[in-house]
């Protein structure tokens, strides 16, 4: 009897994929999955990244860096190190973050020309990350606890959610709409709106790739609609589950980068 019921259940779920009965209906569950997919893939990872920053006049700037990340636990605190290699005036600059879910992140910037470990105050999460259109928060991930989510629409490809910040004073937008891929749970398009309902800023994923079983954003773009300026970010040499030791996420790595993990 038990065997039969299992068989029935299996066939039912098989059918359900056609009628979308498997679709998630709880906005928070979708966001949790999206957060996992976008920021917590595997237990750790490394990647090389570059950004091209294009202003309203079309002038370009470039930033190139290597990222190391380790999760203390899924959906929990994370350690991150960002080592800059280009342009030459930021070469050797290292950015260290301890992302904390229940309190402000700890952030440091190492400036090699001064041998200075500068601590960065936590309040400015929505400040440009090294001159790019990406904010610090876009790089390390906005804490889902900061917003209230509602599911607007579910279609063949996307869950469309609306997010309204709990504390509107802490952000420059009124709300944002995220289109989350139903299969991978990656947010593929996020549009930020002003209180006048005008689209001010958009994040678009341009390319993904499956690496070690994790669908990974390889190319994304943030556009500032007020003047058409934008930043594109591209990744390469993405690796997961490297077994990064805990102790490299420390002040030591700012002055003495862990070369073995940066190749």
């Amino acid at each position: 009897m038990k065997v039969l019921s299992t068989a029935l259940l299996l066939s039912y779920s098989f059918l359900s994929s056609f009628v979308h009965a498997n679709d998630l209906t709880n906005a928070n569950e979708i966001i949790t999955n999206a957060n996992l997919a976008a920021y917590y893939a595997a237990d750790d990872g490394s990647a090389q990244a570059r950004m091209v920053i294009v202003d309203a006049q079309g002038n370009k700037q470039m930033r190139q860096f290597t990222i190391l990340r380790k999760d203390q636990e899924d959906l929990g605190n994370q350690d991150m190190l960002v080592f800059f290699s280009r342009p030459t005036d930021v070469q050797g600059t290292v950015f260290r973050v301890v992302k904390k879910v229940t309190s402000d992140d700890d952030r440091w910037l190492y400036l090699p020309a001064l041998d200075l470990v500068k601590r960065i105050s936590a309040g400015d999460k929505r400040t440009s990350f090294v001159g790019a259109h990406f904010f610090y928060e876009d790089v390390s991930g906005r804490n889902p606890a900061e917003d209230n989510f509602t599911l607007l629409k579910t279609d063949d490809r996307f869950y469309t959610l609306k997010a309204v910040p709990k504390n509107t004073n802490s952000v420059e937008f009124d709300h944002y709409i995220a289109h989350i891929d139903k299969n991978t749970f990656l947010p593929m398009q996020v549009d930020f709106y002003s209180s006048q309902g005008k689209k001010t800023r958009s994040l678009a994923v341009l390319k993904t790739k499956v690496i070690d079983g994790f669908t990974t954003v390889m190319h994304s773009k943030i556009t500032q609609h007020s003047d058409g300026s934008y930043t594109e970010m591209q990744f390469r040499k993405v690796k997961y589950n490297l077994g990064l030791p805990d102790n490299i996420f420390s002040e030591r790595s700012l002055r003495n980068p862990p070369k073995a993990w940066l190749k």
């Binding site: 402000d104 309040g123 400015d124 400040t127 440009s128 300026s229 594109e232 002040e251």
Partner: protein
């Protein structure tokens, strides 16, 4: 202009042209961005970079110094690094034409090798920049060499730190990091001498600009500094120790060559201190203490040797509105043995307050995707009734060109106080930099 100046101008011109062509290469490679994959880079252990920079400054008042331009120089910087599996070699040098000195010379900024002889040990040997402590333009436990001439003339902030030829070891034991630096030959600050800026002489009781005739008795003895630091849940604690000399010549001694005459020198000084830095109220809070023991004048009775001090600092920084960060500091400098100091001071009315106080405010506003940065830093001393305003604008046109302009404005009621003595040194400056 000097012949050597002409040659450096031509070198700098070549660098600019090279930069331009490199910039167009960057453009080209960016245009290939539609390609799915990056072209594989050739990974070389060598890394070369640098910049060319021209800077000019102008004194706003007539001054007794020879020049009315404290900054007038062209610099070509070359960085060459070599990265191996087991060590890292860093070299940074500058070819400078300095119009104030009417001279062209080479300056080695950094030349050091670093390696890790064991899992928990890092060693760095050679000419290097050393920094620690929590102050912003105020130094308590950071007794490493500073370049005050650069600071006052509007050179880039990195030049505030002067290099020293040192050995630095860092040991990581548990959650603690222990740093020990040894500078075999004491490296003093690059203090004001009178070439670019004038200053107050307590002996002459007037503003002086001795320049070449400012003779200081040098010391070749060693200097040690140590720090023990740890981070507990985002709160940073550090303890410091120092054995060496005052970083500026705050003592007077008999001139070895011309008796009867006094000569400035660096009295011995030991120090210890502590600091805490932590996130608080959406910003950062720091507190630091240092005790300076002027061991040649333990009781504060010698008028020719600086007294010991207690130094205390409180600071808070946070973003006020988007892209505007403010930081405030309160600094207290207490003269130890103040009664003895006054009793033995030749001119007590010119003596510094027992508790000299300083308030600072830094405002940083960034615009145009951080390409345009407005900064203003103010020092104000309620006890000395003087101050120092340091505004600047930096514009990063692209990854190649950087333009900046600013001012160093001093004010005060009297000519003998810390900032008041520099009133005639107030200046404006601008700089153009091309990076490659």
């Amino acid at each position: 202009m000097h012949k050597s100046a002409m040659s450096i101008v031509s070198i700098v011109f070549c660098i600019f042209v090279t930069c331009q062509s490199m910039a167009s290469d960057i453009e080209k490679s960016e245009d290939d961005w539609s390609d799915d994959d990056w072209s594989e880079e050739v990974v070389s252990p060598w890394r070369f970079s640098g910049f060319a920079e021209a800077g000019y400054g102008y004194l706003l008042q007539s001054n007794i110094v020879q020049t009315n331009s404290p900054l007038s120089e062209i610099t070509a910087r070359f960085n060459l690094d070599y990265s191996a599996e087991s060590f890292e070699l860093v070299s940074k040098g500058e070819l400078i034409y300095d119009d104030v000195l009417s001279n062209t010379f080479w300056k080695t900024r950094e030349l050091h090798i670093s390696f890790s002889p064991s899992n928990n040990t890092d060693i760095k040997l050679g000419r290097q920049i050393l920094t620690w402590g929590t102050g912003d333009y105020i130094f308590l436990n950071d007794l490493f060499a500073k370049n005050w001439q650069s600071f006052f003339s509007g050179r880039d902030d990195q030049y505030l730190k002067a290099p020293s030829d040192s050995a630095k070891g860092t040991w990581y034991i548990g959650d603690y990091a222990i740093d020990l630096t040894w500078t075999p030959e004491f490296t003093p600050d690059i203090y004001l001498t009178g070439e670019r800026f004038s200053f107050y002489s307590p002996q002459a009781q007037s503003i002086v600009a001795p320049a070449d005739s400012f003779s200081v008795q040098k010391t070749k003895r060693a200097q040690w500094a140590t720090r023990v630091s740890t981070n507990r849940n985002g709160v940073e604690y550090a303890f410091y120790g120092y054995k060496g000399f005052w970083p500026t010549p705050v003592g007077m001694t008999e001139n070895k060559h011309q008796s009867q005459q006094l000569q400035a020198y660096f009295p011995k000084m030991n120090a210890w201190g502590a600091s805490i830095r932590l996130p608080l109220a959406g910003g950062l809070f720091n507190v630091e203490y240092a005790s300076y023991n002027s061991i040649e004048d333990n009781r504060g009775k010698s008028p020719t040797i600086a007294n010991g001090q207690n130094r205390f600092l409180l600071g808070f920084e946070r973003e006020v509105i988007k892209d505007l960060t403010a930081s405030v500091q309160f600094y207290l400098e207490q003269t130890k043995h103040f009664d003895a100091f006054i009793a033995h001071s030749p001119i007590p009315k010119l003596a510094v307050d027992k508790n000299r106080q300083l308030l600072t405010l830094r405002l940083t506003y960034t615009a145009l995707q951080q390409k345009l940065i407005y900064r203003v830093f103010t020092f104000y001393s309620p006890t000395d009734n003087d101050g120092y305003l340091k505004p600047s604008i930096t514009y990063r046109y692209n990854d190649l060109w950087l333009f900046s302009a600013g001012a160093n404005l001093f004010w005060g009621n009297e000519k003998h106080t810390f900032f008041g003595q520099h009133q005639q040194n107030s200046n404006v400056w601008f700089r153009i930099k091309a990076q490659f």
